[in-house]
Subunit: 314 residues, 2 copies
Amino acid sequence: MDVSPVSLVAEDIRSVEARMRALPVPAAAPVAATLERLLAAGGKRLRPALALLFGRMLRVPEEPLIHLAAAFEIVHTATLIHDDLVDQARIRRGIPAIHTEWPAATTVLVGDFLFAWAARLAAATGSIAVVQEFANALTVIVDGEIRELSVAEAGNGAAGYETRIRAKTAALFEAACRCPVLLTGDSAAAERAADYGSAFGMAFQIADDIMDFTADSASTGKPSGQDLARGLLTLPAIHYLASRPDDPDASALGAGNSDPDIRARLFEKIRVSDAIEQSRASARRHIGRAVESLCAFPRGAHRDALENLVNSIV
Amino acid sequence: MDVSPVSLVAEDIRSVEARMRALPVPAAAPVAATLERLLAAGGKRLRPALALLFGRMLRVPEEPLIHLAAAFEIVHTATLIHDDLVDQARIRRGIPAIHTEWPAATTVLVGDFLFAWAARLAAATGSIAVVQEFANALTVIVDGEIRELSVAEAGNGAAGYETRIRAKTAALFEAACRCPVLLTGDSAAAERAADYGSAFGMAFQIADDIMDFTADSASTGKPSGQDLARGLLTLPAIHYLASRPDDPDASALGAGNSDPDIRARLFEKIRVSDAIEQSRASARRHIGRAVESLCAFPRGAHRDALENLVNSIV
């Protein structure tokens, strides 16, 4: 059987995408075409898919559910636009990042516009609990990003890494799973959904960070190693550094030496080390936690899909 | 009598400022000190003052009212942070703008953090109507800013100017006046408060744009003329250009000539022309509209303060 776990909500995702094409200000900013292209370019639509699976599993009314799923994809896109500007990334979702086509000024404001639009959609659910959760998640995400800027070189171990990715990545997945359940009014169930979402997000980010060491990039055919190159210590690097206190490159990096040759050598050593497998084990631990939290929900196609989806991460 | 119209809510404003010092994430980003300094530096606190005057006039409960007033000041500060980055302004509220002390990346994220925090405070009122209004206003403001970037040189007349400042400035004043009244549940009164706020904001922005031609800057002792220098046509310039079709500098500017000498000559001509008085008359028209909309509210000290406040603009 090779059915994607999100196929259950494929039609809903099309509704979400239609809602995302309806920009809220008809006068439409000069950047409307750019924005529409970026929103249409897609990506995996994972956050809306999770919200939709929980919402459909619990028979949440369609209208607020679609608003909510769109809000999560739009806020995610807003953070990507500002992140790409911050990181000077050139390509996003296979098309040029907005800041490569527009001045930084416009790029900042386009991100702001999407934050505002996402807030409108969250408010359109009519649920104050949803809006509160949405705003809380956004605060945590941005706070995490600000802290990441300043600890990029710090490498404060696996615990620090988990704290960072919990804010930067898991908080939005957590909110995307909690909010649809809040619409049912069952706050205990909402917490179980949040547990799933948080664990999903942690596993997802760890897998992404492993990929930076192991996956071949489409353009170069080689793993990119971008994180280490820009001084960001992710879980594989952290595990490696902890287990090889006698590696002179590790010591040099730990002491704040930012020589690119040291980083390049470490990259090669890390990707063939057991730090990769250790990191996979961490991801699997989170996946186990996510699967466990699904026990609170009714058996059936939606729960199976949520289980398959999180199991497909690693 | 020389009592400031906002003295009625002076104590509430101190409560708002206390709330603004309580950053929502205790881990506190590395920028917390910078942010606290900017939030403390103040400015006129006009948006909270308006929200508080309407709220107190209609006996809105204190707790959500203070949340709301703080939300408006924080969202206003967020837009200033991003605007100063966009415009490369160096000084804000008498202290260095954030982007002069931190990388652009951090500045973008600090603005985002304030947007998120403001949304949290708006949601803390517990009113979905307030959150919807808040998110709508933010969408309109950012859309207006994006459009202003692209029409800076266009000069599409007084109507275009009014559309621009309605979005850029009046929308937030409008929301700051509408939201406290929404908390009473009286939506007809909320619309009258919104009329006041919108007219207040229009008059306020026109007065600000006149000041750019007439007020002496603290540092140079001369009017700054910054708007015209960067190609932004505000109401005095628009009135002047419309009434002097035969001025060769006006024609050159209208044809897109961006020679700084032309702008400098025009600046001197505009500031001694009757375009200034014409602009004041436009501001007074909005002030009249604001005063008129106050008739819907109970007579007393708060209504008097609102009337005095808008009358003090020009």
